[in-house]
C-alpha cells in the first residue's frame, strides 16, 4: 500500500513545493510594489537601470526584430503561395510582429540579457555581503536594488517592444520589397490599414508585463541566492528559466484576454 502511494506522495510533495514557490514569488512581488510607493526613492539608481535595461538593450532587440520580420515575410510568402495568398504578407507580418513575435521575442531577449545580469549582480552582492552592508548603511535592499530595476523594466520594455515591432515590420518590408517584388507604397498602406489600436495596445501591455516579470525574476533569484560561485550560477540559471516560462505563460493569458472572441 505504501509503495502504491509513494508516487502520489511524491506528486503531492512536488505540488506543495510549487505552491510554496508561487507564494514566495507573490510575496516578493507584493513587497516590491509596496516599496514602490514608500519613500525614499533612489532616482540615480532608476536612471542607471533605465539606461541598462532600456537603452543598452536596443541593439539586441533591433537585430532580433529585423531578422524575425524578414524571415516572417519569406515564410508567409512561400506558405501563402500554396493557396494563392502571397499578397497577405504585409498584413500577416504586421499582425504577427505586433501581436505576438514583437512582445514575446523582446521579452525573451530581455530575459536572456537583463534577467541574467540582474540575478548575477544581486546574487554576487549577496554572497559578498554587499546586501548586508546596504542594510547596515540604513538602505533597504528592496528600495535600492529591486524597485529601480523592476520600475525601469516596466517602463522601458513596452518602448523596446514598440521599437521591435517597427523594426520587425521594416525587416518584412525590406524583404518583401527587395526580394519578393512587392510595391513599397502598397505594402506600407496595407500594414497601416490592417493594424488596429487593440493590436498595438496589447503589444505594449504585454511588453510592460514581460518586462516586470523579467526584472522581478532576476531580483527574486538574486536575493535568494545560495553562497559561492555555484549559488550565483544557480540563481542566474533559475532566474532566466523562470522568466522565460512565465513570459510565455503570461503571453498565453494576455492573448486570451485581448483576443478571445
Amino acid at each position: 500500500m505504501t509503495r502504491l502511494l509513494s508516487p502520489l506522495a511524491l506528486l503531492g510533495a512536488l505540488a506543495m513545493k510549487l505552491l510554496a514557490a508561487i507564494g514566495r514569488v507573490a510575496i516578493f512581488a507584493v513587497d516590491t510594489v509596496s516599496h514602490l510607493f514608500r519613500p525614499p526613492v533612489y532616482p540615480r539608481e532608476l536612471a542607471i537601470s533605465l539606461l541598462h535595461i532600456g537603452w543598452l538593450s536596443l541593439p539586441v532587440v533591433g537585430l532580433t526584430a529585423i531578422f524575425t520580420g524578414g524571415a516572417l515575410a519569406l515564410q508567409i510568402y512561400s506558405g501563402g503561395a500554396r493557396f494563392n495568398a502571397e499578397a497577405v504578407v504585409p498584413q500577416i507580418v504586421a499582425i504577427g510582429m505586433v501581436r505576438e513575435l514583437g512582445p514575446v521575442l523582446v521579452g525573451l531577449m530581455i530575459a536572456a540579457r537583463v534577467t541574467s545580469s540582474i540575478a548575477a549582480e544581486i546574487a554576487t552582492m549577496k554572497v559578498t555581503e554587499q546586501i548586508d552592508a546596504l542594510v547596515t548603511l540604513s538602505t533597504h535592499p528592496m528600495k535600492y536594488l529591486v524597485v529601480p530595476r523592476v520600475l525601469a523594466a516596466f517602463l522601458t520594455v513596452p518602448l523596446l517592444v514598440a521599437v521591435g515591432d517597427v523594426i520587425g515590420i521594416a525587416g518584412g518590408y525590406t524583404v518583401a520589397v527587395k526580394n519578393l517584388d512587392f510595391n513599397a507604397a502598397a505594402y506600407l498602406k496595407n500594414t497601416v490599414d490592417f493594424l488596429e489600436l487593440r493590436d498595438i495596445v496589447s503589444s505594449l501591455v504585454k511588453g510592460a508585463a514581460f518586462g516586470t516579470i523579467a526584472a522581478l525574476m532576476g531580483c527574486y533569484y538574486g536575493m535568494r541566492s545560495d553562497r559561492g560561485a555555484q549559488g550565483v550560477g544557480r540563481a542566474t540559471k533559475g532566474s532566466v528559466e523562470a522568466a522565460a516560462v512565465l513570459i510565455l505563460a503570461a503571453n498565453f493569458v494576455l492573448t486570451g484576454v485581448f483576443f478571445s472572441i
Binding site: P40, Y42, M125, T128, E129, Q130, D132, A133, L134, V135, T136, L137, S138, T139
Partner: protein, 249 residues
Amino acid sequence: MIRMETVTKAFGPKKVLRGLTLNVPKGTSMVIIGGSGTGKSVTLKCVLGLIAPDSGTILVDGQDAARPADRDAFLARFGMLFQGGALFDSLPVWQNVAFRLLRGALKKPAAEAKEIAIGKLRRVGLTADVADLFPAELSGGMQKRVGLARAIAAEPEIIFFDEPTTGLDPIMAGVINDLIREIVVEMGATAMTITHDMSSVRAIADNVAMLHDGVIKWTGPVAEMDNSGDPYLDQFIHGRATGPIEAVR
C-alpha cells in the same frame, strides 16, 4: 551598552547560538574569539538585526535590537567593517565611503560628502587619488582600509569589525589592527570585533569573550586572558590541537 541575554539561533537542525549571554560596556572594545563556524558572525548580525534570533533578548542602550522604534535611526548608530570589505563594486571608492552621507537622513551635498570621504580615507592611510578608483582596482589591504573608512564615515557610536585581518599579510594585519585601535580610542566608540587572529585580540581588545559551542565559555579583560585557567581559552590562544575543543584532522 550592548546586552545579549540567553540568545539562541538555529539554522534548520544546526544550533549555532545556544544561549549566548554577553555584556559590552559603553566605550569599550570587546573582541569575540572562537573557531570557525562557532557563531561569531551570527552574533554580530543578530545585534544588527540582519538575523533574527530564535529566542533571548538583545538590548542596545535598553532598546530591543530586534524591534527598534526607528530602524534607520537605530542602524545609523552602527558602523561595520565586513570580512571581505563588502564594498559596492559599482561605485567609486569615495561614494562607497560617503554612502550614508549621499542618501537618507544624513544626506549632504555631493561635494561636501566627497570632502568628508577623502578625509576619512586619509585617516586610514590612503591618499585622495584612490577616491575615484573602483574597489576592484584596489589591493586587499587597501579594500580593508576603504571598508574601515566607510565604517567610520558617519561617526558611529558602535563599530563592528568582522575578521578585520583575514587575508592580509602579517605587516598589513598589524597596520589595520593599530588603525582600528587608534580610531576606536579617538572616537570613543564601543567596538565589537570577531576574529581568530590572536595578534588582533592583543592589539584591539579591552575585553575578550571566548565563544564555543554557541555559548560564551569565558569573558574578561584582555590582561587576564593568558592566566584565565579556562581550558577552552587556553587551547585556543595557544593553538593546541588537543584539549576540550575537538579538532578535526
